[in-house]
Subunit: 138 residues, 2 copies
């Protein structure tokens, strides 16, 4: 994580306590947190941190490419610190659990020119839907 802080510093970031805390939260073992969850965890470390700051900081991390935004449902964006390895997501339709997955093949190459309608296609997101073992057992 100090890697991340150093990288950010190198990009001209002012290193404030709030930003440090947000980075720490994302570095924990819980992945795919919502902005609100990030805020909740950040508050336990720095009670006076505001919601706007968390949103701002997450937005900055995303635009710097350090964190990915994931939109697997309409409820809330989730933030995926695993930005440096391309991957897709597998989502439980019942409990919302998310796993990173690495399918074979490249969906981009599956889209022929005739299906691109003149678009400059730059990326693709794949979301698998299913039921996780825990929900299936219940």
């Amino acid at each position: 994580m100090s890697d991340l802080l150093e990288r950010l510093r190198g990009r001209g970031w002012r290193l404030t306590a709030q930003r440090r805390v947000v980075a720490e939260v994302l570095d924990g073992d819980h992945v795919h947190l919502t902005a609100d969850e990030v805020h909740a965890r950040a508050v336990t470390k720095l009670p006076e941190i505001s919601r706007a700051t968390v949103y701002n900081t997450l937005g900055e991390l995303v635009s710097l490419g350090e964190v990915l935004e994931v939109s697997t449902d309409r409820r809330a964006k989730r933030y995926d610190p695993n930005a440096h390895r391309p991957h897709h997501h597998l989502v439980c339709a019942q409990c919302g659990a998310i796993r990173d997955v690495h399918p074979a093949g490249d969906p981009l190459s599956d889209l022929p020119d005739s299906e691109r309608f003149g678009f400059t296609v730059s990326g693709v997101e794949v979301t698998y839907r299913g039921v996780c073992p825990h929900c299936a057992a219940a």
Copy 2:
């Protein structure tokens, strides 16, 4: 569209003026409308239709499998009347335009068991991102 109305009737739907109007709007040539856009168009045909009714009706159409929910951004769900032919979506990152696309290959078969983590995988959504010709020219 009368097809659709007949199908719905066959499923025990009560055929009200409001539901008829929502179905008509979806049957128009504009695809991928948001709930709000559907409401706006419905109001021109039936001024007293309420927002809740549009939401309810769309939700019912979705659960009946007559319409697909599409979530290409965090702004709003969109409703895709093209539910009977499997397809994916190509979205302009600038203006939000959406096209239906039919890529080759089947992403489901690209996900090996070792990457399923015990999930029962039932579906997959693929969203291509890019810039449409119109925005590229601007």
